[in-house]
């Protein structure tokens, strides 16, 4: 076998369409036998949120952030033509018609393909997100965890 190729993606965006692009590339890279890491920071963390409400001790600001941000990948808005939530409804219908996979399905598939899903702990603190609110398969790390992978990456993207 040749040396193990790696792909890393920083998912900064909390937009449904951008996260979809990130996860399609991640799944494609996994099919290319790359070792794939997606490092979620800032609004990209919302893609990893569980969709049920989670009780946890928080300050007022953190609670407010938690309420205002989308709870889970399926609730995220579009980067263009969001139209207060009408856009995502329309695009999901079109996606179904073309049998494109939804974002939650793409995330499940990525986990199944052993894509490493890392959540940035510093921005989790800023946005008031706790580990109990994120998916069970998520790993935790900081910039060094990302760079450790990225310096060996053939493909490194910031989305």
């Amino acid at each position: 076998m040749t040396e193990q190729k790696k792909t890393t993606i920083v998912l900064f965006s909390g937009d449904y369409d951008k996260a979809m692009a990130a996860y399609i590339i991640a799944n494609g890279a996994a099919a290319y036998d790359h070792e794939v890491t997606i490092f979620h920071t800032f609004w990209g963390l919302n893609a990893l949120r569980k969709d049920e409400p989670i009780q946890s001790k928080k300050g007022i600001l953190e609670k407010l952030f938690g309420k205002m941000m989308p709870r889970g990948a399926d609730k995220m808005g579009l980067s263009q033509m969001n139209f207060a939530g009408m856009g995502p409804k329309m695009i999901k219908r079109v996606m179904k018609k073309h049998s494109a996979m939804s974002l939650p399905q793409l995330i499940d598939l990525a986990a199944e393909q052993d894509v490493k899903l890392i959540a940035c702990t510093m921005t989790m603190d800023l946005l008031g997100l706790g580990q109990e609110e994120l998916l069970d398969e998520v790993e935790y790390g900081g910039v060094a965890a990302y760079l450790g992978e990225a310096q060996e990456g053939r493909v490194n993207l910031f989305i």
Partner: protein
């Protein structure tokens, strides 16, 4: 003796054809043939590039109506 395994990827959109192809290919022996049928137009370029990158040999491709057919030998 090489065996031929069939993968029906019709109706699947990107990135599923290569994801499925990789899964099936992993189970095959070197020299075995994977026959894949798809309907996604992008899969023509995708499977060609995927086979080359993985060291496999794309033996033949055909198009019948809206169905693309590939025969890839595991390398």
């Amino acid at each position: 003796m090489s065996t031929t395994t069939f993968l029906d990827a019709k109706g699947l959109a990107c990135p599923m054809p290569i994801v499925r192809a990789r899964k099936v290919m992993k189970e095959l022996q070197t020299g075995d043939i994977l026959e894949i049928h798809t309907t996604d137009k992008g899969s023509v370029a995708d499977l060609t590039a995927w086979a080359a990158s993985g060291g496999h040999d794309l033996k033949e491709k055909q198009q019948e109506a809206n169905v693309f057919k590939f025969w890839i030998q595991k390398g």
